[in-house]
């Protein structure tokens, strides 16, 4: 089996809306594919099709070599699903949720109990196992969601925005858990709208927007292919910022922006750096910071779609943490 997950030309419409317009994906066993895109790009629809929850209108997909439409029951024995839409029962305790799944998977009462205890311990939930899930914090809840998808030891995992809405610490904890799953040999398809998350976890990235794949490759490859680098200049005196902006804009050919005294602009040709230094020196501008750095995925996304990755969403998780619970 050369691909753990394979999708060819997946299409799906909901009424007048096109959710997927021919998505191709391939995920080799034991690797992490990051499916990246803004809200409404079609990420969740891809996961729902691959997890046998939704029939595609056209196209073909296999998991572990089994067709998701014709052989759904076999596919379901291979997958674990965690995400915004696949959830645990809030009225049950953590232990009961895991027991329920174990029993549904055909385990004996004793085996299911043992498996539940094992997972709760592994996910740092042993002490909370007897509490109703409704009382869990966001981070605990996501860890239980993840544990629930692992009861049957599935070799293929779908994680649909696993850290959306979590505070930074809970996010990092979840990232560690996911890394360990991959180290244990799991194949993971991860959707996210956080570029740093994709950068942290994924071996390969597929960027989708409006139901179409607009770019794919390794994170580094993608950044390099965009050729995008950012020039950053910070003048010592704030009143020189307008001059620096003018110079940078002129030499790089792209509109320079300024944020708290730091002027940045996208650069295609790194040879522009000495020219910038010369011009600023001639103008007598003292500089405290001058750097040419590789683009962040955020900038890549901006280049690909013409808008920032988190436009129209509630923003990065740090903001949500600050909001009252």
């Amino acid at each position: 089996m050369s691909h753990a997950i394979l999708a060819e030309g997946l299409s799906k419409r909901f009424g007048a809306t096109t959710a997927l317009a021919g998505v191709d994906l391939e995920v080799p066993p034991g690797t992490v594919l990051g499916l990246l895109g803004p809200n409404g790009a079609g990420k969740t629809t891809v996961v729902r099709v691959l997890a046998t929850l939704l029939r595609p209108d056209a196209g073909r997909a296999t998991v572990g070599g089994h067709d998701v439409r014709r052989d759904a029951h076999r596919v379901r024995q291979l997958i674990g699903l965690t995400g915004q839409y696949a959830s645990v029962d809030e009225q049950l305790t953590g232990t009961e949720n895991l027991l329920l799944i174990g029993r549904l998977l055909g385990m004996s009462r004793r085996d299911a109990r043992h498996r539940a205890r094992e997972l709760l311990e592994r996910f740092g939930l042993a002490a909370a196992g007897g509490r109703a899930v409704g009382t869990f914090s966001g981070g605990m809840r996501r860890r239980l969601d993840l544990a629930a998808s692992l009861v049957g030891r599935p070799p293929v995992l779908f994680l649909d925005e696993p850290t959306t809405g979590l505070d930074p610490r809970a996010r990092t904890e979840l990232w560690d858990l996911i890394r360990r799953l991959v180290a244990d040999g799991a194949t993971v398809l991860l959707t996210t709208q956080y570029l740093d998350e994709a950068d942290e976890l994924a071996d390969r990235l597929v960027v989708i927007d409006r139901g179409e794949v607009i770019a794919s490759g390794a994170p580094e490859e993608l950044k390099a292919r965009m050729g995008a680098r950012t020039l950053a200049v910070r003048p010592m005196e704030a009143d020189r910022v307008p001059l620096v902006r003018t110079v940078v804009t002129e030499l790089t050919g792209s509109e320079a922006t300024e944020k708290s005294g730091l002027v940045t602009a996208r650069v295609a040709d790194p040879a522009v750096l000495p020219a910038v230094v010369r011009r600023l020196d001639d103008a007598g501008v003292l500089v405290t910071e001058l750097a040419l750095r590789g683009s962040s995925l955020n900038e890549v996304f901006l280049t690909l779609t013409g808008r920032p990755a988190d436009a129209g969403t509630s923003g990065d998780p740090a903001d949500q943490e600050a909001a009252p619970a």
Binding site: T52, D71, L92, D184
Partner: protein, 279 residues
């Protein structure tokens, strides 16, 4: 002792991808999964006993109110009215309890529990069947409850005795099973669980009040009487009265079962169709 000494990694280590996979499920496995999911609903009630009082207080209040406030005026004596009204009250309460199927289903779909269940290798019909099976436990509880309140207030079984009562309970459960499909449909179509409740009040109250449950239909206008006569609630109440107090049983019981079959025949396929489209 297996597992105690296991490497911590084994907690998550996936099984080999090329392990033997079952091509499909057997009926027996589906039934077992249904029972597991029914267990889940019963555990929910155990964790949240307030839910039990939710669907216990209304019937107790109704029995008390109708018996003492209207009883004397309608039937001349409180005890006589209680005897007349209680079997119908059990019918009405049974209809309201079916709403819990709809509410539970609605919550499962909205909260994503259904997607998790549907991604598991279990029978497609098990989550729905599990809900309905668990509901029968709540039904049995509510029947016992209304009956117990009635007995405390002075209700006594008639000549058919305990066998008659058991017959009535079976008939009620059979009807509840059929009517659950209406609740399933409402639960799937409603935006949230509260709207399921609103449906209950706007549809089930008229249905039960325009029946012979609380008053004999003699004084109603003719067109209303015509409706009362065919109303499945009247038919079922009449059958229950016959089984619990004595009187005609065969005809109303047969009509009740026919209604149950008709309701199931219309709403079961409709609900399954909506279910497949929606989730």
């Amino acid at each position: 002792m297996s597992g105690i000494g296991d490497d911590a990694r084994s907690a998550v280590a996936p099984a080999a991808a090329d392990r033997e996979l079952a091509p499909r499920l057997g009926l027996f496995q589906g039934i077992r999964q249904t029972m597991t999911l029914a267990w889940r609903t019963v555990v929910q009630v155990r964790h949240n006993p307030a839910e039990l009082t939710d669907f216990s207080i209304q019937p107790i209040m109704f029995v008390l109110l109708f018996t003492y406030v209207f009883g004397g005026a309608i039937a001349g004596s409180v005890k006589e009215y209680l005897t007349f009204m209680l079997p119908g009250m059990i019918v009405m309460n049974m209809l309201f309890v079916t709403l819990y199927v709809g509410q539970g289903l609605n919550t499962d779909v909205n909260k994503g529990v259904f997607d998790r269940l549907r991604s598991l290798p279990i029978a497609r019909w098990a989550p729905l069947a599990g809900r309905i099976a668990a509901d029968q436990v709540k039904q049995a509880w509510s029947i016992v409850l209304v009956l117990a309140v009635g007995v405390i207030l002075g209700f006594r079984l008639g000549d058919p005795g305990v066998p008659g009562l058991l017959g009535a309970v079976l008939l009620l459960l059979a009807f509840a099973l059929a009517f659950s499909w209406v609740a399933v449909l409402v639960g799937l179509l409603a935006k949230d669980a509260e709207r399921v409740q609103i449906f209950g009040f706007t549809a089930l109250f008229p249905l039960t009040f325009v029946s012979n449950v609380f008053v004999p239909a003699d004084t109603m206008p003719g067109w209303l009487q015509a409706f009362v006569d065919v109303n499945p609630v009247s038919v079922l109440a009449e059958a229950c009265r016959g089984l619990m107090l004595g009187g005609e049983v065969a005809a109303p019981a047969a009509k009740s079962l026919a209604w149950a079959a008709a309701i199931a025949a219309v709403f079961a396929p409709l609900s399954v169709w909506v279910f497949k489209r929606k989730v």
